[in-house]
């Protein structure tokens, strides 16, 4: 039996092209990986990481478990398309084997098996007819959802859905046609040759009854041609469109299991992350720049798209809080903040050895009392003297001797420059402060600024010095009993998780424990991992003052909807930002302040 007919040509060309494009893309990305990354792959390849990756591929690339968790309708759509198509291929292969035995059959033989089996009068195996029809129906239901999503996205519980580029539109349109046309082609085949399951068989019988036989014969080959052309076109568009994500997520999962990570500088590994984005648009809805400001072209899906097609503009790149709310929901688990940061590095980093030479003459605070605990105020806390005084009262109350790293002002922690992409300049600050902290001889460093804490933990090499946020420090003091604030059972507080502290450093519980020790904590609707950004994030250098205020007001609205009269936060910048967005009867306080008030 020959598995070839002229209509297979578009399919064969498309497939060959796809495999070639994949080989080139994967090959060059892997080839250009940094040495250290290649070593990681080598080291982790023959470990448990590989089976774990395989399992994750099944769970995520086929079943799309994470999308189900975000939105079950969307989950069904992705599963039916991906898993359904996969099963069609798998069961199709088994079907072929069942008919012709275990022998080599070219790819088009499997894909167009219905055609070849019918032409060769192979007879029918009703089990497979049934199974294949069931799977086809499964996939078709997914296509129907996808079409519906385009037309009415609210239908899927999504406020917004991604706008696409030309390649995407081509691939998308063809994808919509592939399965309906397959249904038509198979049904006509059944009408002419008989057989088929409950779907193709029934339509076939119906067609045979109503359509003249000559017409059916005339449509028979063309229907298969159209099906083959659709497949071919889809495969050709695939590597240039968002559908490249199908073949990129798989290696991404493996590499991630092998512990490869994106960093402050762009590396080849980033390609896997960038092209693994399916532009599903799940990241759009949580973005406050969309919901509060109505800006619709900066969200992660657009950022990744622009970066991928080399048309990223500073106005898109820099218009982001790097709040991490989108990263929290991204079903592919892309490190959106890191990618944005290294794009900024690429576009903004200016290596300049002469910068900050003046640091060498900055007077260094001596730790003359040999204190073991140090306190880093940070620029922003210098602007919120209430916080500074509260920390002072707490230190006094505990009787601990504390070395102030920058009581009168010092060098910035470096995080703002890092967020702006000026990585090399930030390094100078990190080096300066690292030396300052090391020379002081402290073993614990406390800071009340979430921004400073984030960069201390991520970028500073301070082994032997424990880095604490003041929320963690105060919690310890409370547990130890060295702080005994008076608790007011009738006063309720609501808590705003600073992005850098919560999603940034994973600190959610310590501030809550501290609040619970002085009053009643009431949680706002969006909290913890999904808490809102205050709107003043240093990462955004595009929006203006009025826009910052709008974001802050809407965050405040969510917080005050709890009925609490005091908003507590744990970052000086959040405190300032939220205070601007409140009306007069609401207080905005730092964690340290509400504790110090009650000592």
């Amino acid at each position: 039996m020959r598995f070839f007919a002229p209509f297979c040509i578009p399919f064969i060309i498309g497939t060959a092209f796809l495999f070639a494009a994949l080989a080139v893309k994967w090959g060059s990305w892997l080839y250009h990986l940094p040495r250290a990354d290649k070593k990681l792959i080598g080291r982790n390849f023959f470990t448990l990481a590989t089976p774990k990756a395989i399992w994750e591929v099944i769970r995520e690339s086929l079943l799309h478990a994470r999308i189900w968790r975000v939105n079950s309708l969307l989950g069904y759509m992705h599963t039916s398309l991906a898993f359904g198509w996969f099963l069609l291929i798998l069961v199709g292969w088994i079907e072929t084997t069942a008919y012709v035995g275990l022998r080599w059959v070219p790819l088009q033989g499997h894909v167009f098996f219905k055609y070849f089996a019918a032409s060769a009068h192979l007879g029918h195996k009703p089990v497979f007819d049934f199974l294949m029809d069931l799977l086809l129906l499964f996939v078709l239901s997914g296509v129907a959802w996808a079409v519906a999503k385009r037309i009415v996205h609210r239908f899927m519980g999504m406020r917004r859905t991604t706008r696409h580029i030309v390649w995407d539109k081509l691939a998308l349109s063809v994808l919509w046609f592939i399965f309906p046309i397959r249904l038509i082609a198979e049904s006509i085949t059944c009408a002419v040759h008989g057989g088929g399951g409950f779907l193709t068989g029934s339509i076939g019988t119906w067609l045979a009854g109503w359509v003249p036989r000559s017409t059916l014969y005339a449509l028979y080959e063309p229907a298969w041609w159209v099906y083959s052309i659709c497949l071919g076109l889809f495969f050709i568009a695939m590597p240039f469109s968002r559908y490249m994500h199908i073949f990129t997520e798989i290696p991404l999962i493996f590499l991630r299991q092998y512990k490869l990570r994106s960093g402050k500088k762009i590396t080849s590994y980033d390609n896997f992350q960038v092209e693994a984005c399916s532009r599903c648009g799940i990241c759009i809805d949580p973005c406050q720049i969309q919901t509060d400001l109505g800006v619709n072209d900066i969200q992660s899906t657009y950022f990744l798209r622009d970066r991928r097609y080399h048309r990223l503009e500073l106005s898109v790149l820099n218009n982001c809080f790097m709040c991490g709310r989108c990263e929290q929901v991204c079903p592919v688990g892309i490190n959106l903040n890191t990618l944005r940061q290294n794009s900024r590095d690429k576009m903004r980093n200016v290596p300049n050895e002469k910068r900050y030479e003046y640091f060498t003459s900055v007077p260094v605070e001596k730790n003359s009392a040999q204190s073991k605990i140090g306190y880093f105020t940070g620029c922003m806390t210098h602007l919120t003297p209430g916080m500074k005084q509260a920390m002072e009262r707490i230190f006094t109350a505990t009787g601990e001797s504390v070395w102030w790293a920058d009581r009168e002002g010092g060098v910035c922690c470096g995080r703002p420059l890092l967020l702006s992409g000026e990585t090399d300049s930030a390094r100078k600050m990190i080096d300066f402060n690292t030396r300052l902290i090391r020379e002081s001889g402290i073993t614990t460093l406390v800071t009340s600024c979430a921004i400073c804490l984030k960069v201390f933990r991520d970028e500073y090499h301070l082994t032997g010095v424990e880095l604490l946020h003041h929320s963690e420090y105060i919690e310890r003091l409370l547990v130890k009993g060295s702080l005994k604030p008076a608790r007011a059972n009738d006063e309720s507080f609501t808590y705003h998780d600073p992005c850098e502290l919560g999603r940034g450093c994973g600190i959610y519980d310590a501030p809550r424990a501290v609040i619970a020790s002085v009053g009643v904590l009431v949680e706002p609707e969006q909290t913890r991992e999904m808490s809102l950004c205050c709107g003043s994030s240093l990462a955004n250098t595009v929006i203006d003052d009025g826009q910052q205020l709008r974001v802050s007001r809407s965050a405040v609205d969510t917080l005050t909807a709890t009925g609490a009269k005091t908003i507590v936060t744990a970052c000086p910048l959040c405190k300032k930002a939220l205070a601007r967005g409140t009306s007069h009867n609401i207080r905005v306080k730092d964690l340290a302040e509400i504790v110090a008030e009650r000592l």
Binding site: H382, E408, G409, L417, S420, T541, D545
Partner: protein, 122 residues
């Protein structure tokens, strides 16, 4: 605070009064090339709302450690004086305090980044 003379160019007096006065400066607007300054204002029109209060300079982290004076700097740039400005700007740490205190809500951090881009980077 670490006390230092607030004068940015030369201290005027031999006696240390604890403060100083900026040397009078003559800016010849006929000679200065304002094209760059206009381009900067086009990209950041809100800078025109600056009232010269000096809040940005007073709170500046870099200004507390060096003679960097942000208000003077952006005022001079607007007047077409670009000489040495890039080197001055490189002292800024982008910490963002100035943005928080500016009574006109000017996006001063974006201004620093814009000026650096226009006056020297790359």
């Amino acid at each position: 605070m670490r006390r230092r003379h607030t004068s940015n160019r030369n201290s005027v007096a031999a006696i240390d009064w604890g403060y100083g006065i900026n040397k009078a400066r003559v800016i010849n607007a006929d000679v200065n090339d304002l094209r760059m300054s206009e381009a900067i204002l086009r990209e950041m029109p809100e800078l025109q709302t600056c009232i010269g209060c000096g809040g940005c300079t007073a709170t500046c982290t870099a200004g507390a450690l060096t003679d960097f004076n942000f208000r003077m700097l952006h005022t001079l740039v607007r007047r077409g004086e670009y000489e040495g400005m890039y080197e001055q700007l490189n002292k800024c740490m982008l910490c963002g305090k100035c943005r928080l205190v500016c009574p006109r809500g000017i996006n001063t951090r974006a201004l620093v980044m814009l000026l650096k881009r226009k006056l020297g980077d790359n």
